[in-house]
Symmetry: D3
Subunit: 334 residues, 6 copies
Amino acid sequence: MEQHPAEASPVCAEIDLWAQGETAGHLRVPHSRNDSGWGTIAIPIVVIANGEGPTLLLTAGNHGDEYEGQVALLRLARELDPAALSGRVILLPAMHDPAALAGTRKSPIDGRDFNRCFPGNPHGSVAEVLAHYIDTHLLPLCDAQMDLHSGGTGIDILPSACGHILDDEAYMERSLAMADAFGAPITLLLKEVNAGPTLLSAAERRGVVALSSELGGAGRLNPHGLAVTERGVRNVLKHYGMLDGVPEGERSRRMVVPDLAHYVFAPHDGIWETADRLGAEVRKGERAGFLHRIEEPLAPPTALAYGAGGLLWCTRGPGRARAGDPVAVVARDL
Amino acid sequence: MEQHPAEASPVCAEIDLWAQGETAGHLRVPHSRNDSGWGTIAIPIVVIANGEGPTLLLTAGNHGDEYEGQVALLRLARELDPAALSGRVILLPAMHDPAALAGTRKSPIDGRDFNRCFPGNPHGSVAEVLAHYIDTHLLPLCDAQMDLHSGGTGIDILPSACGHILDDEAYMERSLAMADAFGAPITLLLKEVNAGPTLLSAAERRGVVALSSELGGAGRLNPHGLAVTERGVRNVLKHYGMLDGVPEGERSRRMVVPDLAHYVFAPHDGIWETADRLGAEVRKGERAGFLHRIEEPLAPPTALAYGAGGLLWCTRGPGRARAGDPVAVVARDL
Amino acid sequence: MEQHPAEASPVCAEIDLWAQGETAGHLRVPHSRNDSGWGTIAIPIVVIANGEGPTLLLTAGNHGDEYEGQVALLRLARELDPAALSGRVILLPAMHDPAALAGTRKSPIDGRDFNRCFPGNPHGSVAEVLAHYIDTHLLPLCDAQMDLHSGGTGIDILPSACGHILDDEAYMERSLAMADAFGAPITLLLKEVNAGPTLLSAAERRGVVALSSELGGAGRLNPHGLAVTERGVRNVLKHYGMLDGVPEGERSRRMVVPDLAHYVFAPHDGIWETADRLGAEVRKGERAGFLHRIEEPLAPPTALAYGAGGLLWCTRGPGRARAGDPVAVVARDL
Amino acid sequence: MEQHPAEASPVCAEIDLWAQGETAGHLRVPHSRNDSGWGTIAIPIVVIANGEGPTLLLTAGNHGDEYEGQVALLRLARELDPAALSGRVILLPAMHDPAALAGTRKSPIDGRDFNRCFPGNPHGSVAEVLAHYIDTHLLPLCDAQMDLHSGGTGIDILPSACGHILDDEAYMERSLAMADAFGAPITLLLKEVNAGPTLLSAAERRGVVALSSELGGAGRLNPHGLAVTERGVRNVLKHYGMLDGVPEGERSRRMVVPDLAHYVFAPHDGIWETADRLGAEVRKGERAGFLHRIEEPLAPPTALAYGAGGLLWCTRGPGRARAGDPVAVVARDL
Amino acid sequence: MEQHPAEASPVCAEIDLWAQGETAGHLRVPHSRNDSGWGTIAIPIVVIANGEGPTLLLTAGNHGDEYEGQVALLRLARELDPAALSGRVILLPAMHDPAALAGTRKSPIDGRDFNRCFPGNPHGSVAEVLAHYIDTHLLPLCDAQMDLHSGGTGIDILPSACGHILDDEAYMERSLAMADAFGAPITLLLKEVNAGPTLLSAAERRGVVALSSELGGAGRLNPHGLAVTERGVRNVLKHYGMLDGVPEGERSRRMVVPDLAHYVFAPHDGIWETADRLGAEVRKGERAGFLHRIEEPLAPPTALAYGAGGLLWCTRGPGRARAGDPVAVVARDL
Amino acid sequence: MEQHPAEASPVCAEIDLWAQGETAGHLRVPHSRNDSGWGTIAIPIVVIANGEGPTLLLTAGNHGDEYEGQVALLRLARELDPAALSGRVILLPAMHDPAALAGTRKSPIDGRDFNRCFPGNPHGSVAEVLAHYIDTHLLPLCDAQMDLHSGGTGIDILPSACGHILDDEAYMERSLAMADAFGAPITLLLKEVNAGPTLLSAAERRGVVALSSELGGAGRLNPHGLAVTERGVRNVLKHYGMLDGVPEGERSRRMVVPDLAHYVFAPHDGIWETADRLGAEVRKGERAGFLHRIEEPLAPPTALAYGAGGLLWCTRGPGRARAGDPVAVVARDL
């Protein structure tokens, strides 16, 4: 694969993206601080390449409080034998490094949600500059890309691969084939317009076969989600013939969240007491739970009901919810 | 019981603490804001009283991100029939109201951990003024007190009642009897000096029979912990003859955390991958887990080991730990 | 009126903008928080529609500390009888909801002045996303629009409707007719370039007949300003034949603030002591007041003079001014 | 008057408090900043002394957003002729200088409300160190003291002198005589325990005849309040024989706010629409106003009623109130 | 010179840029604050003009903690005799006034590094609006421009003029001639793409002969750097025939920093102990210094080496460095 | 030496303070964070002990931006051979670890200047708890103590040992002997009351022979100051017979800063241009420098003069000063 002519970026890669074997280093993103005008943020990057084959970009730490992907890619970087590989894997195990170091969804530097920053801006804030570099310098190198998300601090979620419902059927088939190979219990398909500010949409605009995921949540490192992730990324490598063998694991259930009726939102601040556990089958109109107000101790809690039935795919993680927070999301089979 | 002469406090109770039946209202704590010099914080309080009998103070929301006690006391306030009661229950379901509204351990107003503020200060910050009021105006009214804690955002913990190992054996026996009645799976006994800045220590300095608890954690409302709490507070009322009936539930296991060797601390920042689940039996020297550093992707993670064996009583909740955070605490049978 | 094809926006309206009768609900604007990745801000919206007639958009809470319009629209939403209406009124009584809840001009979420955010950006911050939605989804539905402002915390101002001096005379006549109908004591006409980032300019770019206003200030809810506002919005409905009757009240005085000479700016920080009350007739060169410096108690205060004569239309609200703040603005008859 | 032996304080006075004539300078309070370890805060002080006579301490800027006293004392410092004086006036026109420079009630340095800091602490924060100095170094020099307050940003208030109801009748008579001389329209007497953290209480603990005041509010410089203040401080000088002449102005009305029933508190956040203007005579049970919630536009506003009748002495200044804020305070004749 | 048609900007100049003699005043940039909706930032500007001749723009305070240029231009504004001048000098001695008043690199208002804001945005934040004004209203008036920088708080640097290596040789020659005239000990030439967000690049896009500089650092006012600057700006005026005489001083050494190998970056946080002083000749592979980690007191410090040899042109100023900070930069002769 | 009975402290030492040889570990100070209720701060501590002899406590990082002592003690910890020692050295190379990690004078955790926290408070903030531990657990073990300071970010200072002028002459002689041994170019003696909140005063209250120092400043690691420090601490060990040999280096000049007249304070904010370099001999009334105001470019700078003559011992580090900052301090020979 030939390098696309890339736009000017202030980011410097300290490693050779075309080297054979395993190479580890950093992407250096300028970050002007009051006490360090020429300071930089060093984003860890690992490239493992051997012989002929596709280029796959695996990323984690897009949101800093989503841990399964970060640990899975760190382990893959240490354990993958370059000699066993055909092609090139580019790993960004802590892509949005400032957020990953903070353990927060958004960056403490510029307050940005990195997955709302694509296609980025070479003169913008740290997150925008990095998004622009990934869009203009890394995605053009890739045949496929997977961005490993989890629910983060705010939500708990059943382990799932996530893809977009796309107009180009052949292209979408390639995404679904990658999702089947990844082998998460669920594959959740979202109808999203192509102009979205996510890495997934950016990859699609570049014609790269792309997926994201939700592999746990509630701000914890979920052991089951981690196992799904570690198996999944090796499955994807096998799917592309980059590793020997065939993908392992059960068949993924294809689901959708059709519309807003499948969300239950908190109408006011309060403590959320869910009626059902994650993974329950729920019915429209059933009680989803109670929202407790501490301000008026004798007033009854607000009862909320599901607006649609299906699988309880996602719930609020922390006990306290703010007005407007989703406290439950229901998915249906495609 | 006669009212002890209380020290001067700027807090005003808007309800009559000696009224019969159920009374709900607020404690009004002055809080001078830049845009409201005479502003107040209104702490919800419920008193349920009927005939003769002891006075029991039940508190939750000492830390704002500990939810089982808050929901249990809100439900008790709504559902307890005053006519069925003998004595007086004083309920503060969201005691440290500013933290409870924020869903954070510490107050967004003064940054204080309320359970490090006793015996308080009538001229101090909001938390100190409130602590002083509880110590000087509420505790002297009480025969017994229970402060309902959970692990909060940072730690996940097996449901437990918590008490102090006290020099006065008869006094300690009364605490243990209350703990047995409460009926949590575990009763954890801590050796704490009497001068501690917690509400539990303040109650002990006043000679009130007192317990705290840990009823779940990881910042969630834990359904099992909630059930233990709801049963437990009614059990305590039965124990004191304030409700008819006898305490229900299994026998509580008495345990201790003898020394620092039973804690595993993170030596540096990183993502904590625990080797064992909460409740596992672990042995000294076994691997407790890995601490992953994202800065150097090819370096092996730091392996940590247990310094003592026993029951894995408490683990780090969020995936990311800071240097100095406990990532595991081991308890032993007394 | 036909729905214009709207640009993609991440905002979801939970109500049907074409329903007959009165419908109340929310616009849901995504707001990714560290503890709620899929959180939303719920902007209250009320639509009252009946039969044929024009569509009028009434907005308040563009700046959160301007109260007359917010209260007037809340009252209109509760009291307007749908059966008495011909046409459709869309009400956003607390349009920039995060700022309105905070009681501050700018949003505590993204620090943005909402009236400097148009035409918005569907991938930007909360304020920009909302501005984009109003510009692309609501304004195209409207024949006329009025955005109800007051002076806010920083300035006190004579109740006025405000419009732009426009090149298109016929269009400007329609604005002036609406201003005459509104019936504020003053109609203040500003020369503003068409590319401005305000809602007023956005409406003009869409060809909607549009006004804003200044209905009091100093961060208070001004009873006189409130009365002017409540009468004014009903007057506008009558003007458009949407309610029976004719506009009530006195004739509005048309005025302008021609240039910078009509502003008095504080040259340094200090306490502003005005020489005249709001509404006074002042002359060029007269003393406008004293600016007191507390740092040097024996130094005389700085005397400031008016740069032009006319009506003292606006004064600094708070006693302390910063260098660069306008402490007086003088208006002249057109 | 002889200097009392003062406690050790890190504050340095750069002027001689015993000099004759007019002396202006600063009190230097240490303030360790990250970029200036040995930095100081310079509090302006003016001493005017001539011949024999009492020592009077006049202070303003205790709260930084209360302006009438600050401007009145700055003017007095410039205009009082030392030759016309008998005795000594010590002026601190911007006593809590960090808050006065910020125009905020509380200090931006340590977040302290200065009038909650007495008797101070020589090792505490800037506000505590300064309070300790005033208590230990200035108050012992004084025969009388007056601390000039206004309502500040949050409340609007009828111009009043304020004193404490004291057990020592002779002492209280001297305070009332000074209040009568000051000549504000109202003299408001508060029952306050002697241990309060205010400057007024500190003065009383030292046996100094002392008053505070409320001379306007809503964060503005009120022209009428300023006139009352300027006349009042000269009246006090005349009362003590320090200036020739007799106090001028009308008779002050002595009032009290007997208990909490005379306060109307906001039960939740909202926009406050007062039913009455400041100075109205109101009756128990009458509607005090409406509290508007913007979250639910069709819900009726919360109507609040007066808990006691009398003179509407104080109202909320800004339109938006927080739960717990007083929105109205009623005073009764003594 | 004719005024270029300028784009609409909300900035108002309070002085006449075409007046003869010396004129001082402000550029007024709108800055909406919560307590001052129509507030402005007043940027000091001085214009000195006499007869025929070129227009030269001299700016300092682009970064607020770079002092040599600020003091040099303030002195020039006071001391330059208009009668001695031929042409026009426009001086912005504290261009990014909010940062200059704070003494910080970036603005406390919007957190922006002003030299990353060009070509600006008339609807953006304060820094962007000002950058847009300078780009569209001042640069089109100019024949030459010099923006006076120093190292700021974070770095210490040898006094240097700085220019870009440009494709247009004749244009670059004019820059080099101006640099030779300025007469700093070093002229550092940077290869920078033309699209950069700096004032220097903005000037180049307008075809203005332009330079920046580095005249000291470590957050101090360096006496030697100040002397170089004061002489240098007069030298430039002589170079353009705007003052009589010829440029004074030694020959400037032309140098470059060819690539990343000439930077030494801190791989982790620590205290930087440099092996060499600024100005030393260093060799590739030599020890550049030690980075001390305080967390593990017995671990050896991290030794860092130069990646290329040359002149030690720039070193880290403060003792503590963050991961990613440059601790040494080496320059080579062109 | 016998261990004094220590007061209860929540700090745990993870090392044995009585072990022979070299032992390194941490003091664990509880620090309740919102996301880690049982979190701790780990303060590095090293004990080197061998045979009989005195106990010496050496501390650095009291202020986090003072680097010479930190690096000197880290090096001593690595390089001192236990076998060569007679006695015990306790090293806290980064005593106030939160500030040292931040590189700031004050702690980012609680905003406290650690050297204003003694004798501390076991229930206070992190800094107060640590100060209490050092005062109650470490000082009682010691014969002598030296706390290594530098000027920090805000001031630049001639390398000096610092001691107090004490009433007990014999005790003071022991301090002076230790200062002579240390061998800094200057020994600066301060008249400080015994009740001060510094570690030096705390040591004196315990009867420990104690010194502090100023070994450079301006936020840099000064090579000369570092050399003085490294030699000095070994000199002190030799002085106490803990290492073989005699103290090396020149004779220290004993000086004092007698009163406020020896300080030059900035009367307003501005850029400080010093007239003299550190170490110059200056005379009373001579110009100390200019303070430049950027707000009014044509106004002359404020000229400041020395209030007393002597050695220019200390100057402002950063170019920008705030009102009240010392910009020069003059010392005189004793």
